[in-house]
């Protein structure tokens, strides 16, 4: 049997996204954000989405486009101060926002990929963000139980892929992309360059091909 081809156009790769799904999107402060895939998601038009991401870009930029296009129902993330439209929409009750400590967000997504249903963390215990979470003492300190955060789809950005989907990243554009690749059922990676299997150093692969279902090459490059 011939090798399955994971390389697709952005539109093809996102054709399966439908209303109401949860979508993890990599990036931190506009680095490592898969903008071309976000554009394809805007074109796809799926609504009522739950977006799981560190931030929501800036007004009308990056993930901010999804909010302007009314595709967002709920946000799970850490920092929306960079996009005042999120703050406004939240205060008007137009969207739900679940703020999660940044390390908890990363670890809960990783837990989903690693088959861990729940773990304990110190962050947020006793604070407003920890309200409603089950607590438990270990060695004299109070922890909250955190559940794994799964998603239907992950949209990530990487520097290079090999043809089967192994990925490497560039500097601080790595951020949430590797755990998100693991936390979703279906991961689309936007990359600057595609090479043959064997051309990436097997000691330096950051995201294994196992976690990547579709590869989209950045078209402007």
């Amino acid at each position: 049997m011939e090798r399955i081809d994971k390389i697709k156009s952005a539109a093809e790769a996102l054709a399966c996204v439908v209303d109401g799904q949860s979508v993890m999107v990599g990036g931190f402060g506009m680095r490592g954000t898969p903008n071309t895939l976000i554009d394809a998601l805007v074109a796809n038009g799926a609504r009522e989405l739950t977006i799981i991401s560190n931030d929501l870009g800036s007004p009308g930029i990056g993930l901010g486009k999804l909010l302007r296009n009314k595709q967002v129902k709920r946000l799970i993330g850490t920092y929306y101060t960079w996009n005042e439209e999120v703050v406004n929409a939240f205060q008007k009750g137009e969207i739900d926002v679940e703020l999660v400590p940044q390390g908890t967000l990363a670890e809960s997504i990783r837990a989903a990929g690693y088959g861990i249903p729940a773990y304990y963390a110190l962050a947020s215990a006793g604070t407003e963000l920890g309200e409603g979470k089950e607590t438990r003492e270990f060695d004299g300190r109070t922890y909250v139980m955190e559940r794994a955060i799964h998603a239907d789809i992950a949209l990530i950005q990487a520097y290079k892929a090999d043809r089967i989907g192994n990925l490497v990243y560039c500097k601080t554009a790595r951020n949430f992309n590797p755990p998100m690749a693991m936390g979703a059922r279906y991961t689309v990676a936007l990359v600057d360059e595609i090479v043959e299997p064997g051309e990436l150093d097997p000691e330096c692969v950051v995201t294994p091909h196992v976690f990547v279902q579709a590869i989209v090459k950045e078209s402007a490059l």
């Binding site: 990929g113 299997p197 091909h209």
Partner: protein
């Protein structure tokens, strides 16, 4: 008469029949190969969408390495020297088992001491015996989507295919397929159903060396020998 096969013949026959199942998969397929007979399966994989995982930290195992090919730092989970396949990658034990625990391993091929009619598997300890080690077996049986057991049909003339396991259990009702040198059973329905058996044994002979009762699939055919 039940043929007496050499240890090598048993191992190779089992490995080839496990490989046949894996080669027939149609999507990308991540496969973990355990210690012993399972590691031989690597030599018979021809499907380009199959990637082989060893829990000591590699995905993309090629064939077992010859003495000339062997790299001192490159082994499978059974400590055998192996080759790299293109696109392989190395990882630590944490991610290696994250692949397993997280359900990303499609098939695991494991040796066993006993399998019973409920699909229970025992393969981690012989109390007061010479085996003391669970390795990755418990992670694999619960984490992998499909569990294929590859083991010799009998030990010292006694069936290892039992009504009820006598040894401590590794995983409950986790066995999906059982391949011995004489038969291939599926547990898809919750109890063993014969899928294929060896052309050098009769069905009655097979029953005589198999403690558990089994159904016979309407499409039952011949194993590769």
């Amino acid at each position: 008469m039940i043929p007496e096969l050499s240890k090598d013949a048993v191992s190779n026959r089992i490995a080839r029949n496990v490989a046949k199942i894996i080669n027939a998969t149609t999507d990308t397929c991540l496969v973990n190969l355990g210690i012993g007979i399972p590691s031989l399966v690597a030599n018979f994989i021809t499907n380009k969408n199959v990637y082989l995982h060893a829990e000591n930290g590699i995905v993309g195992i090629g064939a077992l390495a010859t003495e000339e090919q062997a790299h001192p730092m490159l082994i499978n989970a059974g400590r055998q020297p192996i080759c790299e396949a293109p696109g392989c990658f190395y990882t630590d034990s944490t991610l290696s088992f994250g692949l397993i625990r997280g359900g990303h391993v499609d098939i695991t091929v494991l040796g066993a001491l006993e399998v019973d009619q409920d699909g229970n598997i025992a393969n981690w300890i012989i109390p007061n015996g010479k085996q003391l080690g669970v390795g990755g077996a418990m992670d694999l049986v619960v984490g992998a989507n499909e569990v294929i057991v590859a083991m010799g049909h009998t030990v010292k003339g006694k069936s290892r295919l039992l009504k009820t396991c006598t040894l401590p259990i590794t995983g409950f009702a986790e066995v999906d397929v059982l391949v011995t040198e004489f038969a291939v059973f599926s547990f898809a329905g919750g109890s063993p159903e014969l899928q294929d058996f060896a052309p050098d044994i009769t069905l009655d002979e097979l029953r005589s060396i198999t403690e558990f009762s089994f159904a016979v699939s309407p499409s039952c055919g011949a194993m590769m020998v």
